[in-house]
Each structure stands twice: as C-alpha cells, then as structure tokens.
C-alpha cells in the first residue's frame, strides 16, 4: 500500500513543481521556436511592448495560442486516460484507443460537410456529442453480457469503433474535396494555425473537466480497488462512473474540438505518471495533466522541425512516439497496469 500522506508530501510536491516548471519552460520554447525563429526577449516584448512587427504578430497570434492549446489539450487527454484506465481496469484504455476521439472527429466532420457548420461554439458541442455517443457505445459494448468484456476485448471493440468512425469520416470527405482540404490536417490531430478563439470556446469546458477530475480523485482511489470493494465501502459506484463519463466527454470532446483527434497521450502518460508518482489519484491526476501538457508541447515543437518548412501533424508525431509504448504495454499483458 502506498502511504496516504497529505499535502505536505515533499517528494511528490517537488515532482509536481518540477513538472510545472518544465511545462512553463517548454511553453516558452514553443513560443519562440519554429520557421520564424525568435528570441525570448522578443517574445517578452511582444506582450509588453507590442510594435506590430511581423515577429510580434506571429508570437501573439500564432505561437501563443498554439502553446496554450498544446498544454491544455495534452493535459486533458492525459487526465481522461488516467480515469478511463482506472474505471475499465484496462492499461490500454484511452480516448484514442476506445474510439472516443474518432467519434468526436466524425461528428465534427459530419457537421462541417453536411450542415456547413462553422460557428466555433456549435463545433464544440458537436464534438461533445460525438464523444458522448462513442463513449456510450463503448460502455454499452463493454457492459453487455454477464461479466462484460475483458479489458483486452474492450480494447479490440474500441479499435473496431475507431475503424468504423474513421471510415465514415473518410467516406464523407471523399464526396467533398473542399472540406477535405479544410479538415485533413485537423483530422490527423494538429494544433498548427489554431486561433485563440478556438481555445477560448473550449477552455471553460476543459476547466470544468479538470476541476471535476480533482474533486473525485479521492473517490477514484477507492474505486481502483475494485467495484465490489468500493461498493462495500459505501461508494456510489454507478454515480462515480457517470461522473467519469462526463469528465472524459468534456476533456476528450473538448480536445478534439480544439486540436483534432490526437492519440496515445491518454495511454502513455498515465503509465509514466503512475510510475513516477504512484497510484494515488490526488497526486496522479495533476501530475499526469502536467506531463500530458509537456509531451504534447514537445511533440508539437518536434513536428515543426522534421520536414521543415512543412509541418507534420502532431497527431502523427504522437503515433510515432506512442506506438512503441503501446506495443510494450500490450506485450506486458493485461493484468499489470
């Protein structure tokens, strides 16, 4: 058993602070680096003494939103990954693998191509709707039958859902070349060229998701011991699962609306975070959030340099980073988390 220390656990506290410092540092690097290389001083001036120059404009309108989106999307996906893994007892559960990202992505493309939706607010809600439908389907599939599906089979079902949704998405795009041009980059998971307004329309929901995640963290510690034990200890398991569902939909749906479906963060980060800081959700959740932000920022910075002057979608970067890790976990087996 891990010791349940309070807030004055210096070892864990220092890890969190360290991660936070690193996150801020990476955001700084993300703001200054890229095709138009700038310096830290210039970036600082862009905010304190804006002079309308090209560099200042780029920093304010392109780089800053990008860094902020990367940090918040990374954090959101990581947190939803943590909770999905706890609830499903599946080390491979994550919004990407269980088809939730694909569902949200499908909903957004559907709205763009069929209803020509372009309002950001509507965009976000549609993304939530898609995420919710996918989450419910996976939950239904996972809960059907006496014992439901084993963790591994749930993963397979999620993969089938992903295949289904992405096939529909692609099918719709083939009939509409203009829309393809618009969404291809978005669809592969990208935070390039996102405006601050996009983040602004999603951010409130993400914050609600994060706060909810922190609030239920102590209860999730009980839940992790198994549904039966948790129920025996007086926890309202069904209620808690619904809460987790809401959190996942808010965080994953919001992330997809902002950055398109980005996979693997929800798998990789929870594992690394658990290894570094333990399984106590009160620590795990904020720490995973920070690590998620760090990973996506790093991947996004890398995405600018690989095929310069073009950019690789950061979702692609994540797949390259995440697949080896996924295979490692898959080989290790289901029983260990």
């Amino acid at each position: 058993m891990t010791k349940m220390n309070g807030i004055f656990d210096f070892a864990r506290m220092s890890k969190i602070i360290l991660a936070a410092i690193f996150l801020v540092l990476l955001m700084g690097i993300s703001i200054v680096s890229g095709y138009t290389d700038t310096t830290m001083q210039l970036a600082y001036k862009a905010f304190t003494a804006f002079d309308g120059s090209n560099e200042h404009l780029i920093i304010q309108t392109v780089r800053l939103p990008r860094a902020l989106i990367a940090a918040s999307v990374g954090a959101s996906l990581a947190v939803s990954g943590v909770y999905m893994q706890t609830v499903t007892k599946n080390p491979l559960a994550s919004p990407g693998i269980l088809g939730i990202n694909a569902g949200a992505g499908f909903a957004v493309v559907f709205a763009i191509t069929i209803f020509q939706v372009s309002s950001l607010g509507v965009f976000t809600w549609i993304s939530f709707l898609g995420a919710a439908i996918a989450a419910l389907t996976v939950y239904f599939v996972g809960g059907v039958g006496k014992r439901g599906l084993t963790p591994m089979k749930l993963t397979l079902a999620g993969a089938a859902m992903t295949a289904l949704f992405s096939s529909f998405t692609q099918g719709m795009l083939t009939t509409n070349e203009a829309a393809l041009d618009e969404v291809l980059f978005w669809l592969s998971g990208s935070i390039q060229g996102r405006k601050l307004e996009i983040l602004a329309s999603v951010f409130p929901y993400l914050v609600v998701g994060w706060l909810l995640a922190l609030v239920i963290a102590p209860m999730m510690n009980v839940m992790a011991m198994g549904d039966d034990i948790a129920r025996g200890l007086g926890l309202k398991v069904g209620m808690l699962k619904i809460m987790v569902g809401v959190i996942v939909i808010l965080l994953a749906g919001g992330s997809v609306a902002a950055a398109g479906p980005i996979g693997f963060i929800g798998i990789v980060i929870p594992h690394i975070a658990r290894r570094l800081i333990g399984i106590d959700h009160r620590w795990l959740v904020p720490f995973a959030a920070l690590l998620g932000g760090i990973l996506l920022l790093a991947a996004d910075i890398g995405a600018r340099y690989i095929v310069m002057p073009q950019e690789v979608p950061v979702g692609v970067m994540m797949a390259f980073i995440g697949t080896p890790y996924f295979i490692y976990i898959a080989r290790k087996g289901a029983n260990k988390g």
């Binding site: 039958g145 599906l149 089979k153 009939t175 070349e177």
Partner: protein, 351 residues
C-alpha cells in the same frame, strides 16, 4: 465418408475433401454472385435490364449502353469481385494460421501496412506533374512488400512464449496506428489534389479503376487464389496446432511461411488496386464457416464467393444510394464489419 467427395490431382498436388453439402452451397453462392454481377452491371445512372446486360456481353445493346458498361461498370465490378475474393481468402488463411477468429488482414495491421507502402510509393515515384515515373505495375509489388513486412513484424512482436491471438491483434492495432500515421504524413506532404485521391483510396474504393487495372489484377489474383486453394490442406493441418501439425509430418515452419506469403500477397494485390476495403477479410471467412464448417478445402472457395459478393454489393450501394455523391465501398464494409467484429468479441468466451 458418406456424402463426401475427394478430389485428387496428381499424387500430392491437390487433394481436397468436399462434402456434397458444401458443393451445393458453393453452387448457390456462384449463382448469387452471377446474379449480383449482372444486376450490378445493369444498375446505376443508366439503368439496363438484365436481359440486355447479357446481350451486351455478346455485343448487343445500344452504343451508349456499350460505352457505360464496358468503359465504366465492367472494370470496377470485376475488380470488386477479385478484390473481395482476395481479401476473403487472405482472411481465411490468416484465421487458420493464427488459429483465431479475430485474425484478419485489417486486425493484424497488414492492410494498413500495404496501404502505407502504396502511399509512400506514389509519393516517392511521382514527378512534379504528379505522374508516375515508374510503371504502375510495380504498385502491387510495393503493397505486397509492405503487407509482408508488417505481417512478419507483427508476428515477431507478438511472440512471447508463442503467439497469443489477442496479443497479436492488439499489436496489430498498434502497428495499424503507426502505419496510418505514416500514411497521413505522406498525405500531408503531397499536394491537396493527391491527398484527395489518396483519401478515397484509403477508404477503399474501386471508383477509378479501368481495364488496365483489370489486366494486371486478374492474372495475379488468379495465380494467388489458385495457390491458396492448392494449399488448403496445409492450412487444415496448421489449424490443428503446431504440435499435432508436426506430429502428422508437416513441415510446419515452411508451410506457415508460404501460407503467410500467399495471404500477404493477396492483401497487397487487393489493396494496391482498391485501397483498404475493411473487414471483408474478417467477415467472409466467418460467414463461410457458418455455412460449410471449418475444413479449408471448402471454406476457402466459399469465403472467396462471399467476399466477392460483399465487395460487389458495397460498391453497388456506394455508387447508387447517395447519388450524385459516390461513396467508397469501404464505408459500407466497415459499417457492416465493425458491428460484426464487436459481436464476435462479445460472443467468444472470456478467458
């Protein structure tokens, strides 16, 4: 062995045990395929009644009908049929080899591997005007190489005191994600015109095929399918498990390798011409097993026909249901296949 017929050619060349039941079902499926073929030729923007279709094959009909059928419909229908057969048989072989129901070219990443190498091939060997600088005939080879490499990689990565089916599929999912990431990279690197073409193709479509594709696809598929049918009995032995297979004197490793190559060859060829038409390799062998049981001598031909029917039907729906849009066949196979896959998952016992 009442009710069975054995077929032998030469001493060891071909030896099949078909039961009469399977032969009847095979004949029925053949007739269904034929009817669907004729219906498919007749349906579309220009509707032609079935009798006229038959006449058209022998040179009758109006000029317009001749044009529509020969230029547009026949090639894509033939390609659909062949691709469906190829994918279905490849799935059947893989399911026998891996001894698991969930194995299929899509679930173990082979389709995605073939897909990525095709996109990479198109990107690598195109000049500034987006025309190929090498012969298009190399495309199936590229797809085949990609499919084979992925199959071998997935197999080895899943090896840990033997290959567990679920682990194999899981790793297949991982590799699929990786291959899709690669595909996306090449798509983003290419101009939008090409990306759009690639997208149609990734979803799985026979929309842009012509006679020149049929001329390459037909002989290659024919040879590969024949090889598959000839090795049916080896799959039977393989599906008994490694120990028993060795016990009955089968060179297990060599047969396994040959069978793997045949199935990746089938997938590679199918993907090269019609893109990633998903779930056919999973569904068709299952349905076939329901119909004729699991002896591969009858299973493979029956799955071939079911696969042909599935893809032909998907293409027919794709080009008639949502006019004026033409929806790739892969959308329909996925719409049918994904729920089927989940159903299979729920049906098989939890261990």
């Amino acid at each position: 062995m009442k009710g069975y017929r054995s077929f032998r050619v030469g001493k060891d060349r071909l030896s099949l045990l078909l039961d009469n039941n399977a032969l009847v079902k095979l004949a029925v499926l053949f007739i269904i395929t034929l009817i669907l073929f004729i219906a498919s030729v007749g349906l579309g923007d220009v509707k032609i009644n079935p009798l006229t279709v038959v006449k058209l094959f022998f040179g009758g009909g109006t000029e317009l009908q001749q044009l529509v059928v020969h230029q547009f419909r026949l090639p894509r229908i033939i390609v659909s049929m062949l691709v469906g057969m190829g994918l279905a048989v490849a799935g059947g072989i893989l399911q026998g080899l891996i001894r698991n129901d969930l194995a299929a070219p899509d679930t173990i990443g082979v389709t995605a591997g073939a897909g990525m190498s095709v996109v990479a091939f198109l990107w690598l060997f195109s000049d500034e005007n987006y025309s190929l600088i090498v012969s298009i005939n190399w495309l199936p080879v590229a797809a085949f190489v990609g499919a084979t490499l992925v199959a071998i990689a997935v197999y080895f990565l899943s090896w840990k005191d033997g290959v567990k089916p679920v682990r194999l599929v899981l790793i297949g999912i991982g590799i699929t994600a990786l291959m899709q990431a690669g595909t996306t990279t090449f798509m983003v690197l290419s101009p939008i015109y090409m990306a759009s073409q690639t997208n149609i193709w990734i979803t799985g479509s026979v929309n842009s095929v012509g006679w020149e594709d049929v001329h390459v696809l037909l002989p290659v598929m024919f040879v590969l399918l024949l090889m598959a049918f000839f090795s049916a009995r080896n799959i039977n032995v393989q599906s008994l498990g490694e120990d028993i297979a060795k016990g009955v004197g089968s060179p297990v490793e060599r047969h396994r390798f040959i069978l793997l190559i045949i199935s990746t060859g089938l997938v590679g060829t199918a993907v090269a011409f019609a893109g990633s038409i998903g779930f056919v390799g999973l569904m068709a062998p299952h349905m076939a097993r329901r119909l004729v049981g699991s002896s591969f001598g009858s299973l493979l031909p029956v799955s071939a026909f079911i696969g042909a029917i599935l893809v032909m039907l998907a293409d027919l729906m794709g080009r008639t249901l949502f006019l004026p849009s033409i929806v790739p066949a892969g959308v329909f196979t996925a719409a049918l296949g994904a729920p089927y896959f989940i159903y299979l998952l729920m049906k098989t016992k939890n261990n």
